[in-house]
Subunit: 258 residues, 2 copies
């Protein structure tokens, strides 16, 4: 999976949108870390907690959630290998949301103070982290639009497209589609809907001949049409197509949608 350090995944992630120098890379790779495996549905960080460590996802999926007082929950982001899931509280005292594992995962935990030190010492790393945060913010904005203004069909098609592109950029999807790492309940909490309705909506996407589904494997019968139905245009993901590492693992059918 990685040659020397699992933190190479982090370096690689940051380099997808910023250029790092040799010393920056070294600083990141020599960060002290501890590997940890967690089962699905576990908490990496809870709301109200004081974050002392910063976790980088090595394999598996994770997500952020917020819970309303009536017990309903909203999933606010999805994360995949390489993502530094704790940067959102890098300079904040208490966490305002939960970070949970979606699948069995491996994370590398780094003392938060060490990351803070790098930010203060290495301008390029600081810039890379800012760029990373800006992209997460952009995805959040699209997420708000999705739950706020799109009907169930459009919203579902949209996230399926978004994840197809993001997974592909990480080499986690092929022309044959990808493995949706979520239950109907979790998808419902992504979309602000009920699992019952998500199930129905998913069915209509299949019935209409837009996607194929086998268990949790999703593939696209007509990528362009799904993008249209889902009002999807991947610009907000800020994946510069010009970047060498992104071109290859990205399937042709997916990159078609700009």
């Amino acid at each position: 999976m990685f040659k020397e350090s699992p933190l190479e995944l982090l370096v690689h992630k940051l380099e997808t949108h910023t250029r790092l120098g040799e010393d920056d890379r070294r600083a990141l790779l020599t960060l002290p870390y501890r590997l940890k495996t967690l089962e699905a549905e576990r908490f990496i960080l809870s709301e109200g907690e004081v974050p002392r460590f910063s976790a980088v996802l090595i394999y598996g999926f994770a997500f952020r959630q917020k819970v309303a007082s009536d017990g309903s929950r909203q999933i606010v982001s999805l994360h995949m290998p390489g993502d530094p899931v704790d940067f959102q509280s890098l300079f904040l005292d208490i966490s305002d949301h939960d970070i949970r594992t979606l699948t069995d995962v491996m994370i590398a935990t780094v003392p938060r103070a060490e990351i803070q030190r790098l930010v203060r010492t290495y301008p390029a790393i600081s810039e890379a982290i800012i760029a990373h945060l800006l992209i997460e913010a952009s995805i959040s904005r699209e997420w708000i639009l999705n739950v706020g203004r799109r009907d169930a069909t459009t919203a579902l098609a949209h996230v399926l497209c978004e994840w197809a592109v993001r997974f592909a950029a990480q080499g986690l999807a092929s022309d044959d589609g990808y493995e949706l790492p979520m239950s109907m309940d979790q998808l419902a909490d992504v979309l602000g809907l009920t699992p019952v309705h998500v199930s129905r909506t998913m069915k209509t996407l299949v019935t209409k001949g837009l996607i194929m589904r086998d268990k949790r494997h999703i593939s696209f019968a007509d990528w362009t049409k799904v993008c249209e139905v889902g009002d999807f245009n991947g610009l907000y993901l800020h994946l510069q197509a010009g970047h060498a590492d992104l071109r290859e693992p990205r399937p042709r059918t997916l990159s078609a949608c700009r």
Copy 2:
């Protein structure tokens, strides 16, 4: 409004959550800028545009929006004086959303490259900007929860509370409440509802004796109860109560809700 430079507002904003040194302050205050006034509803930055300047709000209100393909729009954030509204595209090539004026505003525009230079040169400024971005991200997450999982009454009460606290922190609200800088249409686009329903919902809040309303002036009959109805707990705003500048202009009734 400001003694020497309008950029003092920015310095002040950044200092609410990070400590800056004398040199950091000076670097910010000697940034080249041009003052500009804009009428309400104008675009500060449009989706797809390449941002070359970074705007700091000097007075008035602004907001971010995203527009779906069916023409419906979602407002994704609200900004007030001192806010650096363009930091969201500081290191991104094209804007993924619109930034618009809500009221007549004055902005100070700074070349984007100048801000980037400061990030690379002054670690404390870099840290302050990151902290600022993290708080905006936190507010975004709460916004997603609001739009995705809360019913109209709860969601409306929630934003009224959030803005009461944020306005108070900027000295824009008093014990007597505050001036809502929005029309029903705009509020609807904040909540992912229709203006008709927002109007009805607002009425029920008044009828239930929770808030008072005179045109766009909002005041709270029972702050604690509105917080309850709105499922509001201001922790996610990360306004450290310990900070001197925040204590005074924050009305007692508002600070009651943690």
